[in-house]
């Protein structure tokens, strides 16, 4: 209980700090901290798989991508002149709607929650038989019962990767920095000689 409350408080504090910050470099670092806190929160909710992903993608890779963007775009936010009232209203109303939406949700760990009652209770035992004793039901669901879905997800990642390559790489050697460096250094040599 104490750990949950402190992590959730820290999440809220970090979010407010990010919103009030004008130094983008620090804000990116704080989003990394936010992701780490999120990963710890997932771990408390017994979802280590999600925690791995959140820590590696949220805190690691996306923080780096944001830093790379900042290196191109500059690290100071432009001062805004527009009035903050309309955005504040929009955010406030959306937040209130989201909170209202959670009001009739079951409490965490509630045994009467639909997720505990509607799925066939024997699923865990059934997967033991179907999978010939493979203990991890989550993996069995992802890779075997829902093998098509996971194939689709993999195809999505593949497509996203190809799309990024198509946008950022105009010529096949654009992303190979050994080649670009070599050509740059030979250019320099050519110029100096």
């Amino acid at each position: 209980m104490f750990v949950s409350v402190s992590i959730l408080t820290l999440l809220a504090v970090t979010a407010i700090a990010i919103a009030r910050m004008r130094d983008l470099w620090a804000a990116v670092m704080f989003t990394g901290i936010f992701s780490f806190l999120g990963a710890s929160w997932m771990l408390i909710l017994d979802a280590p798989d999600v925690a791995f992903t959140e820590a590696a993608v949220g805190a690691g890779i996306s923080t780096f991508l944001m830093l790379g963007t900042l290196a191109l775009a500059g690290k100071k936010e432009k001062p805004t002149t527009a009035s903050p009232i309309v955005p504040l209203l929009v955010v406030g109303i959306t937040g209130a709607a989201l909170v209202y939406g959670t009001l009739d949700m079951p409490h965490f760990g509630d045994p009467a929650a639909p997720v505990q009652t509607r799925i066939e209770p024997g699923f865990v035992e059934k997967s033991q038989h179907d999978m010939h004793g493979l203990p991890n039901v989550v993996t069995a669901l992802l890779a075997s019962y829902r093998g098509y879905d996971t194939l689709g997800e993999t195809a999505v990642i593949f497509t996203a990767g190809i799309a990024v390559l198509m946008i950022l790489r105009r010529d096949p050697e654009d992303c190979d920095h050994r080649v670009t460096q070599k050509s740059a250094s030979t250019e320099k040599k050519g110029r100096s000689s």
Partner: protein, 160 residues
């Protein structure tokens, strides 16, 4: 970042363990938490850390972009290929071979080194998770390569 000896030494110490943890999450995913997606991002973050600290040319000696870009497609091919293999092999039913569904891992049952090599459902899950892991690692690394090359930050560092 070549001028920060503490960062260099610490990341050199940590990177092997990150890689080992990534492999553990990949190949132990059918017993513990984890699987291809998680392992892929962990392995890619190890490569990205290496690239951040030692520069892009150094990491591209280890994982050349030409190889990585092919691995993006290879992972999906392994996954879909497992499915096609199961349809081609078929499953034993009442003593005879009948055609199996796409990604029906029961077709992968075999008796070679029973109890030592994975087979059936276990082998199927192992193969598809392996494919997912390869694709995720390759996509993340490739995005890093293309992104990092565009920013002055890394070009300056590489030339310094």
């Amino acid at each position: 970042m070549n001028s920060f000896p503490i960062i260099r030494v610490v990341s050199k110490l940590i990177i092997p363990y990150i890689l080992l943890f990534g492999l553990y999450v990949q190949f132990h995913g059918d017993f513990g938490p984890g699987g291809g997606f998680q392992a892929g991002v962990i392995l890619a973050s190890a490569l990205i850390l290496y690239g951040l600290v030692f520069g892009l040319p150094a990491v591209q000696e280890v994982a050349p972009p030409r190889v990585i870009e092919k691995l993006i497609a290879l992972g999906v091919l392994i996954y879909a290929g497992t499915g096609i293999a199961t349809t081609l092999i078929g499953r034993t039913h009442d003593g005879g071979q009948v055609p199996a569904n796409f990604l029906d891992y029961e077709a992968l049952n075999h008796d070679v080194l029973h109890g030592f090599l994975p087979h059936g459902q276990h082998l199927g899950i192992f193969l598809v998770e392996f494919g997912v892991g390869i694709t995720v690692t390759a996509v993340m690394t490739m995005i890093f390569y293309c992104f990092a090359g565009r920013s002055r930050l890394f070009n300056e560092k590489a030339s310094a």
